[in-house]
Each structure stands twice: as C-alpha cells, then as structure tokens.
C-alpha cells in the first residue's frame, strides 16, 4: 500500500488568531487581523496597515524585553538565538505537537524530520551588520548569525527539539513554505521519514514588510477593513503580516496506529516556474497554471473534482490578474467551477509563511466542513469573470482543496488536499 502523508497537527500564530479555535472563528466569520501600524515612526510612510500579531511584544532587540502569551515555557538556552519569528514558530510548533498528541521524546528517533521556511530576520541581520561596522569588525553578537540569516528557523527548532531526521530550510520567497510542505510530502511518500514537522514564519515589523513598498507592492489604503481585497477591481497592493504556522505531517498508517486525528490527506503537489520575471508574475499565469496541472496530475484528480481553491492572490494588481487567468484556464475553460477565495483578505500576506498558513487553513476547511469566503470583495475585477468567489463563508464540506502559492522569480507551488477516505 502506497505511503500517504496526512496532516495530524496544526499550530497558529497569525494575525487572525493565536490558536486553532480563534483562527477557525475568524475564517468562518471573516474577521480580519489588520490594524493601523506605525512604520519606523514616520508619518510620511504611505503604508498604514499591517496584519498585526497580538499578545507578542518586541520593544527592543534584547530578548529579556520580549513578551509572549502565557503557557509557553521557554528557557534562555532557546530564546538566546531566536529572531522574533523564531519565537512565533516555537509557539506554533508547541501547539501543533500538542494538537497531534506528540511529546518531544517522539521526535528524536531519526524518523522525524523538520522543513522550515522564512526569509530570516532583516531586523536582527541589520543590527548585527551595524554592530560590525560600529566596531570596525572587532566584535559582534555571537548569536547574530544563527538568529538572523535565512535558515534560522531550522537551526533553532532542530536543536531545540533534537531532530535527527531530515532538516532543511526552503527559500523561494512567497512560495517557500509551500515548497517545504511539498518536499515534506515527498519525504513521507518515499519512505525516508515517517513524520515531518513543517513550519513557516516571518517577523512582523518594518524591516520585513516595508521593503516591499519599494516595489510598489504594498497597499496604501489606510482602512484596515478594505486594504486587503484580493480579486477586487480596486485592489492596490498587499498588506504585510508575519507570524508562524506549523503542520505535523505523518504517514497515514502511523497516524492511524497511534489513533491521531487526521485533518486531511495530502495527495498531490506540483511546481512550475514562470520563466519570466524576477518579481512580476507571468501575465497569463503560465507557471501557476502548469503548477496546478502537475499537482492535480500528482493527486490523480481532475479539475472538476476540486471543490475549493485557496488562491495565492495577495491583492496586487498584476498578481491577482495572473492567477485569475490561470484559474480560468485550469477550471472555467473546462466547465469546472470550484469555489475560490484568498484568505489573505483576512490575514494579509505572510510572505514565506503564506503557503503553510493557507495549507493549514485548507486542512481546517476540510476537517470543519466549510469554505472560507472571499472577504472584502465588493466589485470583482472583470478579469475574474467565471470564477466562483463566494462573499461569505459557506457551510459546505469540501472533499478536495487546491492550495496555490507563488513567489519571486516565478516559483509556483500547488498542493492538493483531500478529506479522509
């Protein structure tokens, strides 16, 4: 019998909730996680809104000043080398392990691996390099590198949980954690690992988000209720967010043997490049279309079988347009009409975190038998003609869900999730 990866645990530190129950309510009731945000204390900055992470505080670079929700006991041995998003990730992973009914001792045998995704911490990296310049290279914080560079998540979490299986970080910008999840599926399917921890996370601060304003990719809409509106004709860019999401992936047989709750099966994934631009999606969504085709083929399902698509759509003019065209080519042209929504309307765009976050939302939708609505959508862009974009969340149980992600350089990654057979 073929090995089948399934999702047995979820953990959330997101703008729409720091636990599964809150996230579920936000998705069902379309409660967004946005708030006015003061970027660099400069009122001239035209970006006014972010998907803020509640109950965490990072008032200085000294972790002694950091605050996080009660219930997470974190020793200095662990805290000393974490970035802000590392702290988010640790909390999310603790939730996911508890959700899956796993203890730390269950993770150390070598049959559990860890795949992570983040862009690193520009905040801490900037500080470390500034320190180096200030001392003309004479000294620096010993934790400066391991807390800040891309890979900091896997360095820290692998050490903390004593992971002896496969450990790796993935860097493909906004498709990063989707790559982590896809390759984690392969680790299970190839029999290399029986359990994988998948974590996506990002800092939530000016250093991580504001550079995207230089690309004119961020919304300048100051209204938290409308700044993120994927597929709407008046969209003007994405709203940034951070946080962390963790998923526990196991072989179905192992999950069943130990009586774990299974949220959803991961039956296929695919990826394809646009071969087009460093930062702009292909105008016809070519890579995403091929990524969807490959994911559906991997899962042995037809477009008409998909009940819901969690779109990548970030609320940028060009990106949403490309995805709408790709969705029409994949589905509408063949007469298929899955429900489509982008939950970034509620969360904002979590960058490297996005793919894992939305895979987790998709798993929740399957397990809790609902479809998240297309929040903040009032006047759909005419390019979306033919797409079924429900304005409210629906009490419909999706059996098959497609989760899309796209990143810089035209990296497109798609997963197919299925309700438990």
């Amino acid at each position: 019998m073929a090995l089948l990866p399934v999702i047995t645990g979820l953990g959330f530190i997101t703008s729409i909730g720091n636990d599964r129950a809150t996230v579920l309510r936000s998705l069902r009731e379309l409660r967004h996680g946005f708030a006015p945000f003061d970027f660099l204390g400069n009122p001239q900055v035209p970006i006014k809104v972010a998907g803020t992470i509640k109950d965490f505080a990072f008032p200085s670079l000294n972790s002694r000043d950091w605050r996080w929700p009660v219930g997470y006991a974190i020793e200095r041995e662990t805290l000393r080398s974490l970035a802000p998003h590392g702290l988010y990730a640790l909390c999310a992973l603790e939730q996911a392990l508890a959700d899956a009914g796993l203890a730390r001792a269950d993770l150390t045998a070598g049959s559990t691996g860890l795949f992570c995704a983040s862009a690193g911490s520009p905040l801490l990296l900037t500080n470390h390099i500034n320190q180096m310049h200030a001392t003309r290279g004479m000294r620096g914080d010993p934790m400066g590198i391991v807390s800040s560079i891309a890979g900091t998540l896997n360095f820290n979490l692998a050490a903390h949980y004593k992971i002896a299986g496969a450990v790796c970080g993935f860097v493909s910008a906004c498709a990063s954690s989707s790559h982590a999840l896809g390759y984690a599926m392969d680790e299970i399917r190839l029999g290399r690992q029986s359990r994988m921890l998948v974590v996506g996370a990002e800092d939530m601060n000016a250093e991580s988000i504001l550079p995207f304003a230089s690309l004119r990719a961020l919304s300048t809409n100051p209204d938290p209720a409308t700044a993120s509106r994927p597929f709407d004709g008046r969209r003007d860019g994405f709203v940034g967010t951070g946080g962390a999401v963790a998923l526990i992936i196991e072989d179905a047989a192992l999950a069943r043997r130990r009586g774990a709750r299974i949220y959803a099966e991961l039956i296929g994934w695919g990826q394809a490049g646009d071969g087009h631009s460093v930062a702009i999606s292909h105008p016809e969504g070519a890579g995403l279309r091929e990524g969807m085709r490959r994911a559906l083929a991997d899962g042995h399902v037809n477009p008409a079988d998909i009940d819901y698509v969690n779109a990548h759509a970030t609320s940028t003019t060009a990106g949403d347009r490309s995805e709408a065209i790709a969705l029409q080519a994949t589905f509408t042209a063949g007469g298929a009409t899955p429900r489509v929504s982008s939950t970034k309307a509620l969360t904002g765009h979590g960058l490297s975190l996005a793919g894992a976050m939305e895979a987790a939302f998709s798993a929740l939708a399957i397990a809790e038998k609902f479809i998240p609505g297309a929040a903040h959508l009032e006047e759909p862009d005419p390019i979306c003609a033919g797409l079924d974009l429900p304005r409210t969340s629906l009490d419909e149980a999706p059996r098959l869900v497609l989760n899309n992600s796209s990143g810089f350089g035209g990296s497109n990654v798609c997963h197919v999730l299925r309700s438990v057979s």
């Binding site: 003061d38 970027f39 204390g41 200095r76 500034n130 200030a134 934790m143």
Partner: protein
C-alpha cells in the same frame, strides 16, 4: 496604533549607554558597576560578574552563583556551553570596552578563573 518594534536601522549603530546594557541585571549588580566606575575598584565588580553569568546561563541556576564554590566548573558542572561563554565575552567586551582574544579564554574553566580573568582585563585596560 502599534509602534514599530525596530530600533536598529540607523547605520552605523550608535554606541549603547553602559547603563542601558545592564538595566536587566539586579540592582545590586547595577550598583556594583556604578561603584566601580566611580572608584575604579575591580574588587567591587563581583556582584556584577555573578549577575552577568546568571543572565547568560543557558538554564536558570538552581542556586545563586555567589553561593557556589569558586572552583566549580562552568561547563561541566554549571551547564554553560561555549555559546554562552562567547555571549559573556561579548557582553563584557562591550560593557568595559575591552578586547578578549580566543587564546585568553582557554585557561578559563571555573567560576574563580572567570572572575579573576575579567577583573584583570578590566584593571589592565588602557583607559582604566
């Protein structure tokens, strides 16, 4: 409106105020530092050195380090690892504006070794 948590974006970073560096340490340690700065007496630094060690201990010590025998091994007995030692070195370098070379650390194995080492480095620094 949430304030941006970033404090570090000026390039180059301005030198931190020594008082700001020790604000997380117990009042007795802060007082010891001020007394040292006023009088230049390195023997006054003990409470500060113990506080720095406790601050960077990977796991919270089961008893105050001031109550632990000076011959106690930092790594084998107290659970310090090399990363924690490098953090202590960095903090001490920044606080006292001294430079510590890797070779100087090789002989530092016990609490007393470290106390004596820091006292010597601070006493012998060019500006002291």
């Amino acid at each position: 409106m949430e304030p941006s948590p970033s404090l570090s974006s000026a390039n180059p970073a301005p030198p931190a105020n020594p008082e700001d560096r020790i604000r997380h340490l117990p009042e007795t340690a802060q007082a010891a530092f001020r007394k040292f700065r006023a009088l230049g007496d390195v023997t006054a630094l003990d409470p500060l050195i113990f506080a720095i060690l406790e601050n960077y201990a990977p796991r919270k010590p089961t008893q105050p380090l001031a109550d632990v025998p000076g011959s106690t091994l930092l790594m084998d007995t107290l659970g310090f690892d090399s990363l924690a030692i490098t953090e202590i070195v960095f903090f001490t370098e920044e606080l006292f504006e001294i430079t510590i070379a890797n070779e100087e650390l090789i002989r530092v194995r016990t609490l007393d070794d470290l106390r004596g080492f820091i006292q010597r480095k601070v006493r012998d620094r060019p500006s002291a």
